[in-house]
Structure formats: C-alpha cells, structure tokens
Amino acid sequence: MAVTEVPGPVRPTSEALLAKPTGRGPRDNAQIIRWLILFAGGILMVMPIAYMISTSLKWPHEVYNVNLIPEEPTLENYTYVLEDGRFYGWFVNSLVIATLTTVSNLLFDSLVGYTLCKFRFPGRTLVFIAILSTLMIPTEMLVIPWYLMSQQFGWLDSYWGIMFPGLMTAFGVFLMKQFFESVPDDFIEAARIDGLNEFQIWWEVAMPLVRPALAALAIFVFLGNWTAFLWPLIVTNSVEMYTLPVGLSGFGDEADVAWELIMTGAAISTIPTLVVFLIFQRFIIRGVVMAGLKG
C-alpha cells in the first residue's frame, strides 16, 4: 500500500488571496521563476554540507577536484578515522553528555515551570524573576568562575565537569511555564480529589499533556549540547574526555591531517543530527517554531 500524505487544512497563501482570477497567465510564470530562484538558493544553502560529505568519500588524489560526485567513492576515510579510535570515543562522550543533559533539563525545567505556574506560595515571583534574569548573563562571563570551581572540586576533565553548567536552563523553565498555563487547573483539582500526591499530579497528569513542549525543549537542549564548544574546550584536558567539536577542532590542527580526513571528521559530527532531522523533520521544525516563538 502506498503511503500517502494526509493533506492538512489548506490555508490559501497571501499570494493566492491577492491574485486576480485571471486563470493561467503571467502569474504562473512569476510563480515558476520564484520557485526556481528559491530552489537555486536552497541548493546553494546545502552546498557546504554536500561538499563535506562528498569529500569525505573521495580518495586523496581526488580531493582538489571541484566535482561534487566522487569518481570512485570510498569509505576508506571513515575506516581510517574510526580505526584511529579517538573519534569513536569523542562520539560516545558527546552522546552521553548531550543525552544526560537533555534528560536533566526535561525533568528540572518542567518541574520548576510547573511549580511556578500551578502553585501560589510566598517567594514565587522572586524565584521566577531570579531565574529569568539569568538569561541576561552570558556564559562567557561565567566560564572563569566555573573553571575555578571545577578546579577546586576536582571536576576538571570529567563528564560531570562538562555537564554541570547546563543541567538546567532558564529558557527551558520559561518555555515549560508557558505551556503548563494551557493545562486546566480543573484537571489538577480532580487529580487531588482522586488522592494523587503533588508529585504524581505533575508526573502523571501534567507532564503527558505538555509532550509537544517537551519534544521542542529536548531538540533544543540536545542540539545545543551536541554542538557546544567553548565550555567543553575549557574544561577538558585529556584527549579521551574531548567532545566531538573539541576533538574535531584539535584533529583539524594536526600537521599531518589531510583535508579529506578533516571532512570525514566533520561529517561524523554532523551526519547524526542531519539523519535525525530528516526522519523527524516535521516535528523538529514545529518544535523549533514553538520554542522560538515562546522564547
């Protein structure tokens, strides 16, 4: 059975609404030209990614050929880079760190957002304003104190050291608070009458209702931590503890590394997120819009 797309409600474009009902004519040509220009622009946008992948599949002698399609595609570069072992380790580090940070953000940001939204208690406004105000503090200002803290507590060069600054984010708290506004208080009252405790109400009643917001937050936090560079660069010392971006940065700088190998490393740190995007495109774009507009 063919998989067909269920058409959503069709919203007429502003163009269609403004068009005079003249049937076929210059408007169609204008539409075609517009489409072609936008298509060309889109191709230009993905060119750097396409060249990265194409070069990672080329033999060294072909790297300087401007053709996008490799003459004899090879996975030799990937074998070489992965057999070296370092990239594999960096990949695992990035995956573990981005996953744990995402889980922590989903739990704590929503717990705080929920509490600030659904409880009335002394100090509520103060806590909310205090957390929001941290949005104005750039991480660059905090890295020096964070480094000193890490040094004192022995967190340098550890997963914990890389993760601790990002375990909660004010942006996430704000986003979740906005979405918990849409959970009716009646639901929560009903759950209280049913004898659930406050923790159960948050986890079993409220959380399932804000799943789309959780998905949006998860995308943002994961992507942010997967690509994070400045803090991991500062807090890690040993090659084994590097994350993918830090590892790639140093790898590119090694004197004997050729461009096709750098492109392979770049592809290894980019392709996973691209694959996830291509699979969940619709949700990710919706999530980005939600997080962007609410933020």
Partner: protein
C-alpha cells in the same frame, strides 16, 4: 510525618512547592548567581591562577581602556553585529516571504534552507576554511581558477578575513530565522489580505501596511536573538584561524576569543574577568536599546 499531617492544605502546598524548587534554587544560586558575583569580583583583582589574588581596584579596566588590541576587538565585534544582523534579517525575511507563497514542494524547499541550522559550528567552520584555501586546495579559488579569474586571499587578508568568517555564521543561522519568519507570516489572519484584495491594494502596500507591522513581535525576537549571537561569536572564528587565532593582525578577533586567550592562554584571570564584564554590559545595552526601539509605538 505527623508534622506534615497537621499542616493546613495551603501550608502543604507551600511545602510541596519548595520541595520541588529546592534543588533548582540551589543550582541557580551556586551555578549562576555565585559565579556572576565572582566574575565581577575577580575583575577587580590581579591573579594568574597560581599566585595569590591581589586587589587592584580598577586597574584591569584601565588596562583594557588603554589596550589597542581591545579596541580592535571591540570594533570587530561590532562589525560582526552591524553587518551580520541586518544582512541575516533581510535575507531570511526575503526568503521566508517568497517561500510562504509557494505550494509546490514547499516542505522540500524549506528543508534545504533549514538543514544548515542542524550542523555544528565547529564542523562547518572547518568546511568553510577548506573552501577558502588557495589553489590547489580550496574550492572557491579552484572554481575561480577554472574560470580564469584571479585568486582571492580570504582568511589571510586583513580586509577579507572578517567577512569570510562572518559568512558561515550568517549561513548557519539563516534557516532558524526563516522558519520563525514563516511561522510569523502564517499567524497573520487571512482576513486582512482578503480585505486588501477587495480594496485593490498593491503588493507593496500590503507588505508595508499589513505584513511588516503585524510581524513586529517576530522581528523583535529575531533581531535580539541574532544580535546576541553575533556579539558572542567564537566557534567559527576560533576554528577558522587556529593557526593564528583572531586572523592576521587580529583582523577577525571578537571579544569572546580575546577573553578565552587572556584567561586560558595567558592565565590573566583578573584581566579576562574584566573583559567578560564588558561583554555582559554590551549585551545588556544592545538588547535594551533594541527592545526599546522596536517596541515603541
């Protein structure tokens, strides 16, 4: 437990609220507020990480004021901001505006524009760095050579390096801005356009009288979001100029790279902290000015 049972319902709720907030409040206190104060404190001290801390008052700030590298960096940072923000705003709006009017293969086109946003800045900085190399390595110069055009020095030139570093930063953020603009365009009620059509108003009037005014919240968000990004630019610059951080004669060095080098290459912690306070102040002022300008009337 009997203590808990004796509380009123209201008191129980308050107890729950603070139980939920206990860990996060500690987190924000220790990981956000204490370091903020600490950074300001260190900015008044002289400290190389190993020796003792000594109070120096405003010496670090005076040193910054008299440092020609700082002023170069200051100008660079504002160049990133003043070229990057308007350019990316204009490009993303024009693309979103036209993309919104297309039906055929709409989501495919949207995907093409959005893909760069999913890449890592470090990986793409290396890709672009490769593009910018001279012949026979770099892609751009190879293409120019194939067409018989003279070579261009990208990263090794004091005039071209900054735009060359800025280009991938704009490129990477464009997809996000386009998606946000398109969501904003979708949110405009169609009845406005219908009314305009009945009145027989031209597209330019529709754009300036209906679309842009109603997009104001979206524009405010994108301007603030992207200018904070350009003021904090680091990953692209650092990775495109690792052999000579900050480009030839500091021509591409932004404030964050200067902070990084002062703190973690020269270990001049007090001086670096003073720079971070300056960055904080700039970010605050720029955001406030933009919110004021764009929210008025």
């Amino acid at each position: 437990m009997s203590f808990y049972r004796n509380l009123t319902i209201r008191q129980k709720r308050i107890a729950w609220a603070w139980t939920f907030l206990a860990v996060p409040v500690l987190f924000y206190g220790i990981i956000r507020f204490y370091p903020t104060g600490n950074a300001i404190l260190i900015s008044f001290q002289d400290w190389n990480l190993l020796g003792s801390r000594t109070w120096t008052g405003l010496d670090n700030y005076a040193k910054l004021w008299n440092d020609p590298v700082f002023w170069k960096v200051f100008v660079n940072t504002f160049q990133y901001l003043l070229i990057g923000t308007p350019l990316s705003l204009l490009l993303s709006f024009v693309i979103a505006y036209h993309l919104d009017k297309l039906r055929f293969a709409h989501s495919f086109l949207r995907m093409l524009y959005f893909l760069p946003f999913m890449t890592s800045a470090v990986a793409m900085a290396w890709v672009w760095r490769w593009f910018y190399q001279g012949v026979p390595i770099g892609l751009f110069n190879n293409m120019l050579a194939a067409m018989g055009i003279a070579q261009i020095e990208f990263l090794n030139s004091t005039t071209n390096a900054l735009p060359a570093v800025l280009a991938p930063a704009i490129w990477a953020g464009l997809g996000f801005q386009i998606i946000i603009f398109m969501a904003g365009l979708r949110a405009i009620p169609t009845s406005y356009y219908e009314a305009a059509r009945i009145d027989g108003v031209g597209w330019w009037t529709v754009l300036t009288e209906i679309t842009l005014p109603l997009l104001r919240p979206t524009i405010v968000f994108i301007v603030v979001f992207s200018s904070i990004g350009f003021l904090r630019i680091f990953d692209h610059v650092f990775n495109m100029t690792t052999n000579n951080p900050g480009g030839p004669l500091n021509s591409t060095k932004p404030l964050v790279l200067m902070i990084y080098e002062t703190a973690f290459t020269s270990f001049d912690m007090g001086y670096a902290a003073a720079q971070t306070v300056v960055l904080f102040t700039i970010l605050l002022i720029v955001s406030l000015i933009q919110l004021r300008l764009l929210r008025s009337d």
